[in-house]
């Protein structure tokens, strides 16, 4: 059922769409030669003296599916903000592949080099239809002039239709996205993320508000995406984390507390302390 990997394979030559207009998108090529997709070193972010991130170190391999867990206020969302350029770190390095320095790029540029993000609260374009939501996010030239002249080509329509089927919203294509149920909105946002064809997917609590069945399918989808894409999933639902497999990183007070597979992490004394309180 999940043939997503072929569907979203990027068949266009890399970099053909990166020409710059008025100085935007002068970014490097994604270089995964050393097998590391995302590399954070000594990242510190503080708000009014409160350290949201404290010397955070994290490396995500190409094709890896990584789960991040941690109590409230551990810095999970701030970490995503740093990676996507929303928050600038006070110090530290953030690299995408070998050569792209994320701390120097703006949000659209980061999206352009291939990092997609799903927010904790589903953020879709509520006034647009489901179809338009996908049309807007689809990987394409996103500069002003091209958008003015854009006219959907047949293969683009097919791609949207396929994504709609995948996220099971093909019957809702012309509905206003704001009218969808919470679970459907989550799916739509996942669909938007897929059609954007990122190399690295950041997913903040992707299954919150989903039924068990939907959660299951989401899990299958993520597992099938790993390998071709790198995924970072922030989640509280341990059953879901277990289903995804892969390495688990525990954040606490802005830095990494433990790392390993779920069983190891769950038996780690410090992790138990953090979760249960001292």
């Amino acid at each position: 059922m999940l043939n997503t990997v072929d569907l979203f394979e990027d068949d266009r030559p890399e970099g053909s769409d990166g020409a710059d207009q008025m100085g935007q998108f002068v970014t490097g090529e994604l270089d995964l030669s050393h097998g590391v997709a995302l590399y954070l070193e000594d990242i510190t972010v503080s708000f009014d003296g409160f350290k949201a991130l404290n010397n955070l170190n994290l490396a995500i391999n190409a094709g890896e599916l990584r789960c991040i867990i941690g109590p409230n206020g551990a810095g999970k969302t701030t970490m995503m903000d740093v990676i996507t350029g929303k928050t600038r770190p006070d110090s530290g390095k953030a690299f995408f592949g070998q050569s792209i320095d994320l701390t120097r790029l703006t949000e659209p540029e980061i999206a352009h080099v291939g990092i997609g993000r799903k927010f904790q609260k589903p953020t879709i374009f509520e006034q647009h239809t489901v179809f338009e939501n996908l049309e807007l996010t689809m990987k394409t030239d996103k500069r002003v002039w091209k958008s003015l002249m854009a006219w959907l080509a047949g293969d683009e329509r097919d791609k949207i239709a396929e994504t709609l089927r995948l996220i099971r919203l093909d019957k809702e294509a012309d509905r206003q996205a704001g009218l969808l149920s919470h679970g459907q909105k989550q799916w739509l946002e996942i669909g938007m993320l897929l059609i954007q064809e990122p190399k690295l997917l950041l997913l903040d609590e992707p299954v919150a508000g989903m039924t068990d069945d939907e959660t299951m399918r989401t899990g299958e989808l993520f597992v099938s995406l790993a390998g071709k894409h790198s995924l970072v999933v922030v989640e509280h639902d341990m059953a879901f984390v277990e289903k995804l497999g892969g390495l688990v990183t525990v954040l606490h007070e802005g830095s990494v507390l433990a790392e390993g597979d779920l069983a190891t992490v769950q038996n780690d004394q410090r992790v138990i302390e953090v979760y249960l309180g001292r």
Partner: protein, 371 residues
């Protein structure tokens, strides 16, 4: 696969709207002139000069309202400085009209009267070329565009949003007003420009000239409407509404909101400039009070009254408010401000979708909003 431009333009409006547009143009270009010229003044069918000027003026306002709607209704950016762009268009074209007066001014000099009065010996540098219609037509669009681009670039780059943006646009037009009030600025100070005689060599007050200006304004309004509808329907329009509803999300998908906002902002300013250029010869005067903050806020009210985000709404709004204004100022001058402020309050409180929204509600039509 690329569609030819004609098909794209045709698909901007539906059949009914094209028909309505055709009727409007026929009225403005054929019926009104015929009624104005061919019937004597006491005939019931006669359209008076007053009516022609008034409607022509309001059509200019409607043009501004559509421009405002593009930026506010579709882009979610409330500008309280659109009066400035309008006035810049007025002044740019006004320079040409001043030069057309030639030696017929009260001092009979080559220079415009106010310069003679200030004892200036030659034209300031920014008046150079103002006797050429082509150059001035370029200025009418270029000056608002440049001002809007520079201001917008810095404002949008620093991500100034919502009410902050509204207030600094208000500050901008206020500052410009103070600047233009000064005699030294070279635009006639308090009195601005007036007493125009000719445009392109034709007498400005003749019926024929008036009708040509009237027709031009109607055509410009129709073209703008089609252009705006096309803009809103394009992917560009959808990105713009997406920015309005969830700007940060748009950034994380890879669009840079700066250029999108800037594009629509400059387009809107240029449309205002053109409206201004059409307005000046019909009204015959331009002074700095056009830039007063109140005027710019009034533009927002036209749009709000008609219904923002609907394109046709702002036109209706501009007509309703301004017809009411001309009626009130003649019949009950003291009460016009009361009525206007009541309109401000009632519309913001009770009719967030404006008259078009109200009509839709009454007709129980599902939201076919343009953007």
């Amino acid at each position: 696969m690329r569609k030819p431009l004609t098909i794209r333009i045709l698909s901007a409006l539906d059949k009914k709207s094209w028909l309505a547009l055709g009727v409007f143009l026929a009225l403005a270009l054929v019926v009104a002139p015929v009624l104005h010229l061919n019937f004597p003044e006491d005939s019931a069918l006669h359209v008076s000069t007053y009516a022609i000027t008034l409607i022509g003026k309001i059509m200019c306002y409607a043009l501004v309202a559509v421009a405002m709607d593009l930026i506010w209704g579709c882009g979610g950016i409330l500008s309280l400085g659109h009066g400035l762009f309008f006035a810049l268009g007025c002044y740019a074209f006004g320079m040409y009209l001043m030069r057309q007066i030639g030696r017929d001014g009260s001092y009979g000099a080559d220079l415009p009267d106010f310069m003679v009065f200030l004892d200036w010996k030659e034209l300031p540098w920014f008046w150079v070329g103002s006797d050429s219609f082509g150059w001035v037509a370029f200025l009418v669009m270029a000056v608002p565009a440049v001002v809007a681009f520079v201001f917008g670039y810095f404002a949008f780059r620093s991500r100034i949003k919502g009410v902050y943006f509204s207030i600094i646009t208000l500050a901008l037009t206020y500052a410009a007003m103070l600047l233009f009030f000064r005699n030294e600025t070279g635009f006639g100070g308090n009195n601005g420009f007036t007493d125009f005689k000719r445009v392109l060599g034709y007498t400005i007050t003749s019926s024929e000239t008036r009708l040509v200006l009237f027709g031009l304004t109607a055509v410009m309004l129709a073209v703008t409407l089609v252009f705006a509808a096309w803009l809103v329907k394009s992917k560009f329009g959808r990105v713009l509404t997406a920015i309005r509803d969830a700007e940060s999300r748009v950034m994380f998908i890879g669009y840079n909101p700066l250029w999108y906002k800037l594009t629509i902002w400059v387009i809107s300013a240029v449309l205002c400039g053109i409206a201004g250029a059409l307005y000046v010869p019909q009204v015959g005067i331009i002074n700095p009070s056009e830039m007063s903050p109140g005027n710019s806020i009034e533009i927002a009210i036209w749009v709000a009254v008609g219904g923002r985000g609907t394109l046709i709404g702002p036109i209706i709004g501009a007509f309703v408010v301004n017809l009411a204004k001309s009626w009130f100022t003649v019949s009950f001058p003291e009460y016009w401000l009361f009525f206007l402020s009541l309109l401000f309050i009632v519309v913001t409180l009770m009719l967030p979708q404006g008259l078009v929204g109200l009509w839709k509600k009454l007709m129980d039509k599902k939201g076919a909003a343009a953007c």
